[in-house]
């Protein structure tokens, strides 16, 4: 359902971020994207989101070659994907409920639908009792839960997480991982870029390792494999 065919990305300054990547991620997969800084993880994620286009090659998401997609259709593509960032990216002037509802308002969902769906998702991420709080009243882990709730509230086929545990202590990080695994079990494909060796090693999921813009390893039930 996500397929990269001979994908090369060269930036305007001549730096090659990814070269000749071929990969297939099936529906329902849980994939860790690992590798040292500058290996191309960020570019990989940006390509999936069509934030940048590859210099060469095709990217097929849900049967559509996104490299041929016009700018106008990008919102449609993004609605199939939820994104979670290391820095949460919540709106500080909105409550937990509003932050999640915001994602539904943007895609012009029916208000009735919003009132039904948001509490459901909040209870799923375990924040039902904090829906009226503002982000700065929450702990890091709770903020990340809000951002996960926002990412999945529109039922995307893919959840993309860019170092979602990077700012969290180990215990909280595990809570977040449990949540992501739970989301994955419902059938959502999860692609997670990370540096968290312990998490990768324990979770025993597919690991794609990037180095200098190339895939150096792609293991089912893999481990992190770096000592950093």
């Amino acid at each position: 359902m996500i397929e990269l065919v001979n994908v090369t990305k060269q930036y305007l300054n001549g730096m090659t971020a990814l070269s000749n990547i071929n990969i297939k991620i099936d529906k329902g997969d849980f994939v860790f994207l690992v590798g040292p800084s500058g290996a191309g993880k960020s570019t990989f994620i940006k390509l999936l989101l069509k934030e940048v286009d590859p210099t060469e090659g095709k990217i097929i998401i849900e049967g559509i070659d996104t490299t041929k997609l016009s700018r106008r259709k990008v919102p449609q593509l993004r609605r199939k994907m939820g994104v979670v960032f290391q820095d949460f990216r919540l709106l500080p002037n909105k409550t937990v409920y509003e932050n999640v509802a915001f994602a539904m308002e943007i895609i012009e969902a029916h208000p009735k639908e919003i009132r039904r769906q948001v509490p459901m998702i909040l209870s799923m991420v375990g924040l039902s009792d904090k829906s009226k709080m503002y982000p700065d009243q929450l702990s890091g882990g709770e903020q990340q839960r809000v951002s996960i709730a926002r990412a999945i509230v529109n039922n995307p086929a893919v959840l993309i997480a860019d170092e979602p545990t990077g700012n969290l202590d180990p215990d909280t990080a595990w809570e977040i991982m449990k949540l992501l695994k739970q989301i994955n079990r419902r059938g959502t494909t999860v692609v997670m870029a990370t540096h968290a060796k312990e998490i990768v090693d324990v979770m025993q999921q597919r690991v794609i390792a990037l180095e200098n813009g190339r895939i150096v390893r792609d293991d089912r039930k893999g481990v992190y494999g770096y000592e950093d």
Binding site: E51, R79, R89, I107
Partner: protein, 277 residues
């Protein structure tokens, strides 16, 4: 602060536009009136031309292109007209032994622009003593109108450009302040128009507020000038001035359309960079 600057810039651009607009319209109306008054040609005929020759001339002139009407004015009628125009001093003309005025044709042109061609044709006729017309005056008037219109258009274009730039900057600040929100919106899959319209409306409101201020300034000033001219200056001049109410109505429409347009375009330009995520 920036929004005051943008309202001010839109308002001042539109005030200047309004002044130029009024100048052009009034000079135009003056030119039109003048055209109506000066679009006749007088053809004086030598005294030896009589009877059938006059008829022939009349027929020839009638066939020329661009002529509305030709009428023959005999020297006797011309003298009578003159006496009438002189009014109280008309008796002075009684003492004349012979009538010094020539027979003439008065030609009404369809358009003053035809004057040169018609005059050229008539001058070829035998028995024509002199041809009088006012093309020069009207030409000069048209030239001035043309110049003011051109200079005004350039000035207005520049001012519109400047106010658009200032509005674009104001919106850019507003957009930058909400950059985070826009960024999140883009990731969740908001369309560009969904993100754009609140800023678009902000731009349009800024433009419209500027337009209303300009309309107030220009409308009241024009009314004041109009009153002074009609009450204290020559009544004759006021006949050429377009009444304030008519002008302000037209201006209101133009200002609001332009103000909203400047605001809308300004905000769209300013957002382009931020939407490219």
């Amino acid at each position: 602060m920036m929004s005051i600057a943008s309202i001010g810039s839109v308002a001042s651009a539109l005030v200047i536009l309004g002044i130029v607009f009024m100048l052009v319209l009034n000079i135009n109306s003056l030119a039109e009136t003048a055209k109506g008054q000066f679009d006749s040609i007088q053809v004086y005929i030598r005294d030896e031309v009589q009877g059938v020759a006059i008829e022939e001339m009349n027929a020839f002139i009638k066939k020329l292109e661009g002529i509305e009407e030709v009428s023959f004015l005999s020297k006797e009628d011309a003298l009578k007209n003159m006496k009438k125009q002189w009014g109280d001093q008309g008796y002075l003309l009684e003492g004349l032994e012979t009538n010094p005025l020539p027979n003439s044709f008065v030609i009404q042109l369809k358009d003053i622009e035809n004057a040169d061609g018609v005059v050229k044709q008539i001058k070829k006729l035998q028995g024509v003593e002199e041809v009088k017309y006012y093309k020069d005056i009207v030409d000069n008037l048209l030239r001035i109108t043309h110049f003011i219109r051109l200079a005004g258009t350039i000035l207005i274009a520049v001012l519109i450009g400047i106010s658009m730039f200032i509005i674009a900057n104001t919106i850019k600040l507003a957009v930058a302040a909400r950059y985070r929100e826009i960024n999140i919106m883009k990731y969740v899959g908001a369309t560009n128009w969904f993100i754009r319209w609140p800023f678009l409306i902000e731009g349009i409101i800024l433009g419209c507020v500027g337009a209303f201020i300009a309309l107030g300034i220009v409308g009241y000033s024009y009314k004041a000038v109009f009153d002074v001219v009609t009450q204290k200056l020559y009544v004759m001049l006021s006949a050429y001035m377009i009444p304030a109410t008519i002008l302000t109505h037209n201006l209101a429409v133009i200002f609001i359309v332009l103000g909203a347009g400047i605001g809308a375009l300004g905000s769209i330009f300013s957002m382009r960079r931020f939407l490219r995520v």
